[in-house]
Structure formats: structure tokens, C-alpha cells
């Protein structure tokens, strides 16, 4: 059950994923057992660390991929992709 699940999406938040949306994403990601990573512009970072996440260029219009591996990876990717596209 360690299949890797991935989903790509475009960031729509007007100011990109800055501190507030970033913190909410990380809080949600920490709710899953799965290892969560975000990939953007050829760089990857731990989706459970706001500090690491903020080193990615997560600006409005950027394409980002959520990569999850572990037991609840499938649910994690679905929930986090939905959250990330809703965040403002």
C-alpha cells in the first residue's frame, strides 16, 4: 500500500501560497500519515513543513504537483488538491 499518488493543479490564490494559505495547507497535510511533497518549477519540498514549502515559487498561476506516498496517500492527494485550489 505504498503506491505514489500525484495530482497537478494551477494555483489560483491571488497572492500565491503565502503565509496564511500555506499554514492552512500544512496543517491539513499533517493530518495524513502519508509522506506529502509539493513540486513546483523543478523544485520539491516537504508538504508538512511551511518553512520548506515557502522556498518554492508558489505564486498565482504556478503549476504545482502534490505527491503523496504511504497508507492514506490517495485520500491525502484528493483532499489536499481540493484545499489548494480553494485557498485564497
Amino acid at each position: 500500500m505504498t503506491a505514489v499518488h500525484r495530482q497537478s493543479l494551477i494555483i489560483k490564490a491571488r497572492h500565491g501560497i503565502h503565509t496564511r494559505p500555506g499554514a492552512l495547507f500544512v496543517k491539513a497535510a499533517k493530518g495524513f500519515e502519508a509522506d506529502i511533497r509539493l513540486a513546483c518549477d523543478g523544485k520539491e519540498a516537504n508538504g508538512k513543513s511551511l518553512f520548506k514549502l515557502q522556498t518554492l515559487p508558489l505564486s498565482c498561476g504556478a503549476q504545482v504537483e502534490i505527491i503523496a506516498s504511504g497508507q492514506d496517500a490517495h485520500q491525502a492527494v484528493e483532499a489536499l488538491a481540493a484545499l489548494l485550489s480553494e485557498l485564497e
Binding site: 500544512v26 496543517k27 518553512f51 515557502q54 522556498t55
Partner: protein, 170 residues
């Protein structure tokens, strides 16, 4: 995660941290509790634990020596990682992202090494205060899982000189 930070220190050749590490005020002003910041990601410590400052100064300085991991596009916040592995966020005001950088001037670049107390961002406090309702500036440790304890100060502080809190590592 404390285990990981110990491994990182060993790999990077850093000696184990003895005693507490002092975090300095990035901006002059009055210390207030994080709970008073009208943004739940700070008030509820979702970003991390720390303290906020009601600023009166005109510069945001590095609160600790280390590497500037990120300076936000709009120059209203930055993050810094110390050689001990302490990850800190300094975020000027609430809703400041809306200003689009107006009133802020970047003095350093991302990825550069800075000494505690070195100015990172210059700010036009008067004009920023007219634009946003709250200029409380949270200073928080993002990786609380690596921190064993935190002792906070109270009162007024001078940027780059006074300690705002002291942490001990796991």
C-alpha cells in the same frame, strides 16, 4: 524530529547546542503575546510558536545568525534558518500581502548569510500604518518539533540588541 535535527547537526559538523539560543528582536517595539495577533494562523500557533512585536522601528533585522531561506515577493516577511537548525518566520503585520510591497525595501537577497541584528528589510512604518489595520509582527519558530523549551520575554525591545525569547533544542 529532534532526532533528525541532531543528525543534521552531526552531518554539518555543528557542535551540540549547549544551553539556550537567544532570539533577538527583529524590530524595535513592545512585546505582545501571539494570541493577540488577529490572524488565526499566528494566534492559534499554526505557523509555529513565538511572540509578536508592536513595532516602532523602521527596519526588520535578522533575529538570529543564519541563512535567509525566503524573502517574500512583497518584502513583508522572511524566513531564516540558523546553523543549529532553528527555522524562524518574521512576518510584518496582518494582511500586509495586500500592500504588494509598498513601503518595504529589500536590503538582502534570498540565500545569503546574515548575522543576528543585520537589517534585512527597510520599512516606511508611517505609510504602512495608514494602509493596514494591524502592524503586529509575529516572530515564530516553524519547527517546534525540534524545540525542547521556549522562554519568552516581556516589555519593550530594541532591534538586534534585546532577546525576545530563548529556545533550547531537543
Amino acid at each position: 524530529m529532534g532526532f533528525l535535527s541532531r543528525i543534521r547537526r552531526m552531518v554539518s559538523g555543528q557542535p551540540p547546542v549547549e544551553g539556550g539560543v537567544d532570539i533577538l528582536a527583529p524590530v524595535s517595539g513592545q512585546l505582545v503575546s501571539l494570541e493577540n495577533v488577529p490572524d488565526k494562523v499566528f494566534a492559534e500557533k499554526i505557523v509555529g510558536d513565538g511572540i509578536a512585536i508592536e513595532p516602532s522601528g523602521k527596519q526588520l533585522c535578522a533575529p538570529i545568525s543564519g541563512t535567509l531561506a525566503k524573502i517574500f515577493e512583497n518584502n513583508h516577511a522572511f524566513s531564516i534558518e540558523s546553523p543549529h537548525g532553528i527555522e524562524l518566520f518574521v512576518h510584518f503585520g496582518v494582511g500586509t500581502v495586500e500592500l504588494g510591497g509598498k513601503g518595504f525595501t529589500r536590503l538582502k537577497e534570498e540565500g545569503s548569510q546574515v548575522e543576528a541584528g543585520e537589517p534585512v528589510i527597510e520599512l516606511d512604518l508611517k505609510s504602512i500604518k495608514q494602509e493596514i489595520p494591524c502592524v503586529l509582527t509575529p516572530v515564530v519558530v516553524a519547527n517546534m518539533e525540534d524545540i525542547a523549551s521556549m522562554t519568552q520575554k516581556t516589555g519593550s525591545v530594541t532591534a538586534g540588541k534585546d532577546t525576545i525569547f530563548t529556545v533550547t533544542m531537543q
